[in-house]
Amino acid sequence: MRTLISFCALFIAFMNGSAQTFNKLTIPDSLHGPNCTLRIADTFAQLRSGNQTITGAINGHTFWGPTVFVKKGDTIRMNVINALNDSTTLHWHGMHLPAVMDGGPHQVIPPGTIWKPYWKITNDAATYWYHPHLHEMTLEHVTKGVGGFLIVQDDQESALPLPRTYGIDDIPIMFTSRRYVANNQFAVQNTAYGDYLLANGVHDAEVTLPKQVIRLRILNAEIERSYNIGFSDNRTFYVIGTDGGLRDKPLAVNRLHIAVGERYEILIDCSNDELGKSFDLMAYNANQLFGFPGGEPAQNGQFGSLLNNKNFTMLHISIGERTTNPVITIPQTLIPFQPIDINSASSTQTIQVMGGAPNSPMPFHFMGGIFNINRIDKTIPMNSTQKWTITNSNVFGHTFHIHDVQFNIIARNGNASAVGQHEIGWKDVLYLPRNESATFIARFVDYADPLHPFMYHCHFSNHEDDGMMQQFVVVPPTEVSEDSIDFSSISIFPNPATESIMIDSRDIDLYYVSIQNVNGKTIMMLPQPEKGVPINVSALPKGFYSVRLTDMKTKQVIVRSFVK
């Protein structure tokens, strides 16, 4: 319904040159765990006057996807259906989970295939997101609009007097920008910046907020651009959450730098604003230091944009009626922050940004080489605490993202006091300006898997696609014996099957199961399937299917089959 209304609104209020015309901000539909089906599909959207823009989206949206709500402690089971024209992946950004469920470049979902990861939510309440991560295709699929929010709730957060009525006083907003080429299609190549801002897929967005305390969950989903946010009336606002959790107490600020991939939860106090008053959420991006992504002066070309080096409106806000039971005060305290003990780190990993300079034969990458999907760059012992220092003695700013963990930034340029107040807390992305270094500390406590790596990379998806990405594995403390396994007892029943199949693997743990049809096409992918849980095959057409089973210990593969 929301989608329909917003589509009509968009269609009527076509984009035009006038700054006074706004379109209603859409709020993505919500989807509640622990069982979620996400169907990624090609579609199109009327984003401006003229032709429709080819987009990619999830569950019937025309850009972006539903907000998935999950509770800490629950086991979430995802049914990801790739109905796109291309192979893709879906990565659960910020989640702590087994590498084989993580949706990185190794978990390729071919078109028409279902991928069924599941994991126990151990992350704290915060705003996470999901997006494609197929190497060399991330930029294209993210540009199309594939992605969504993933909001974790927990008891501690629920006990706080914070706004949490979704879409009313608790608003998730994904900001990004796009450039249009012929026929209103999104530019993908040679474009670091869009020319027109989108808020949840809406150009020139406006929202009416009730006259009370409002929580905005802001995601920077740009290709490269940072936002130096603030409000047009220069009001103070309050940072309450970082990428992976709430802060110990709100931080009052007038400006906040949000780089690509980062999420910040902020509170704005509208309780004393007059009804009907309007003001803007702004990006104060003009006159930044060189190296600020989006500070380049050019208006066009690969590194130019109509929004570069400019202050621009991100969201037009009007004040409406107060709701019943509003939050009208900013809380004094939130969640006690227990940082990782700096002295507990057993080793330091060093990462150096390389390449990318004008005339450099190599694109941006990390020392050790541009991304190679068959090369493991770092091996991290399980149960270790590590410091990572990333040094950028290079030409431009980047954002650094690591999978698997939430970290604490402990130093910038080796100096603990140079860490921004706003970035103290749990993070999975950090902004790395040029000629600086940053050090974080993280714990690698479980999900050892010597085979399947996690990624660390620049979150500028063009840099990532060009190879500014490397991989690490978390290994168990003792070497696993690679004895051969007796597979003869593994069986699949019932055969023939109708509704579902069961895999009787006895005492063998399965690492991966994939089901192929008679043409050899993979139609279902099940990482580490749970023992004793039936696999639903009711939607498959009648026919012969082969099942590839990979053993957890030896990674040996055997093939079984069934008929439906």
Partner: protein, 201 residues
Amino acid sequence: MLKLCCTLVLLFCSAISSLSVETSNIGRVITPFSAPMAQGGDFSFENFPQAKAMAIVFTCNHCPFAELYIRRMNDFHREFAPLGIPLIAINPMDSLLYEDETFEEMKKKVIRDSIVFPYLQDHAQSIASMFNASHTPQTFVIQQVSGMWKIVYQGIIDDNGKFPELATPHLKNTAKAILSNLSIPKDVIASFGCKINYRSP
């Protein structure tokens, strides 16, 4: 360990690649082709012995943007086939990769959408390769010039998928120009829609 890793990747990857740069194929000579028709029988150029030109539209069953154009393609064929410019639709999608793109599904689509133009399966993707086609619904016009079929138009059917009444009808304009012996603009209009993923050789 790395070898295993590699095996895993291969196992999950479908071998697809695509043409990303759109180059002009205008002027290229097209060898008359034949292919099985979802309506039954084989299509060949002899099916339209009076044709001066043909509109060649690469399309498929699963692409939502291509889907918008089926009615317009029917209308074009009804209007221009009797005047010597039939519309030929070609499905170049790999039916191993997309279950919606089998010949059986094409037959169902012909009935469901009352398709009146020939709908061909380009099973080996050889017709698409000959045109250098990159997306569905990408559109070409070929014209017979001194005994040879040459590409004279490369682009789109029109420039508004959802609202034909707001569109500039590029394909129709090209057909009308041919019928009036007027010159045809040589500009390529970039195609968009669903990428044609060519099977790796």
